[in-house]
Symmetry: C2
Subunit: 194 residues, 2 copies
DNA sequence: GTAACTGTACCGATCGGTCGGTATACTACG
DNA sequence: CGTAGTATACCGACCGATCGGTACAGTTAC
């Protein structure tokens, strides 16, 4: 009784979290609804009482976390110094990956599994996020702090950060702080004038 | 008649190539054998005359291309100068991704879809490949050319290169030469002594 | 009562894979 | 020459299992 007033929302959150973990571990199409229902210890009917469809589950995960990343990016844009802005963006990104690795793994790796319309929507959010980085690079170049803007440099820097979702371990000896500090330093090296 | 002597091997190669493309585009589990048989314009029986199973198809692709990468890495190890060795490794990696993007996408993204034994085997090849890079970093550090070895730097550099399988476009304006040259320069910056 | 929550039995569709059988080409034997 | 034998390439029907999703009755909380 005491634990039952929050049921609906908390059950749904539990389902989404578990789904994200399973999708990240084994891939969206490899995970069946039977497997998910066993993981959350719910019958088929109960499971579908809380969610609309498997596709919606994926959509919700992929959309929410790239949207969160964009929200953080907006706050970074207030920083005028391009170097500091890069560091804030990098710190936010690594922190998000560290604290929501499964969800961001789904976000990065399973976009292709979304239906056409939804994939386009989520990809637009990815593009928007990348644009914030790009504009920081351009601002730095215009102020004479960075080398002239080069899309290859942008992709390289983003690759360095993004790829961490594949190797970072939440219980590993390397904390998010350590990683983001070193990555930020490397990013600034990559951007520095020759 | 005139085209039929080479059938078996070339048909199989065609199937593997098509499968790699489909797996890269939509994911291993999302691609059905019916879709593959339509793509190669063969009946079900004919398809299974050339391959043993869907899993074998994935295994063959994932194994062959990471093995090729390792073969190239072995030749790079002959280079004594760590800086040049990095450049050779980077050039080979980007060239391989550019020329076999679909296969390497499968190789990087679909390892998880392999059965346990095979996944372990392929992952061992990935580890071996990464070790070649690591040893180049360590050699450079020992010779006083690079900063002391740091696993975060290794992951960052590898992320920069690897991530290109997601954004590189074979018909794009950026050639493999351009990309690897700039990435190599950035990698050396990341490794340079402070 | 009623509205939220849950389990079970079930649906059509699709999954990877196998089956018996056919067409064609090459070889061997007379 | 003919013809029987063998191997390869191929087809489409079909298999049991599982897929995502639904219907509905039962239970619980207020």
């Amino acid at each position: 009784m005491s634990t039952d007033t929050k049921d609906d929302r908390s059950q749904r959150a539990r389902i989404v979290k578990t789904a994200a973990r399973l999708f990240a571990e084994r891939g969206y199409h490899a995970v069946g609804m039977t497997e998910l229902q066993n993981a959350v210890q719910l019958g088929r009917g109960a499971l579908y009482h809380h969610i609309r469809s498997k596709d919606d589950l994926l959509y919700d995960i992929a959309r929410e976390y790239i949207a969160d990343l964009n929200d953080l990016a907006v706050t970074a844009e207030r920083e005028a110094d391009p170097r500091k802005r890069i560091c804030i963006l990098g710190h936010h990104l690594i922190s998000m990956i560290a604290s929501h690795q499964a969800e961001l793994t789904v976000c990065f790796r399973e976009v292709q599994s979304l239906t056409d319309t939804r994939r386009a929507e989520v990809l637009a959010l990815h593009t928007r996020y990348e644009r914030v980085w790009k504009e920081a690079f351009i601002a730095g170049a215009e102020q004479g702090l960075f080398r002239p803007y080069d899309p290859v440099v942008l992709k390289g820097v983003l690759g360095m950060y993004f790829y961490s979702y594949l190797w970072m371990r939440p219980d590993g000896s390397l904390g998010a702080e350590t990683i983001s500090e070193r990555f930020n330093e490397m990013a600034l090296r990559m951007l520095a004038l020759a």
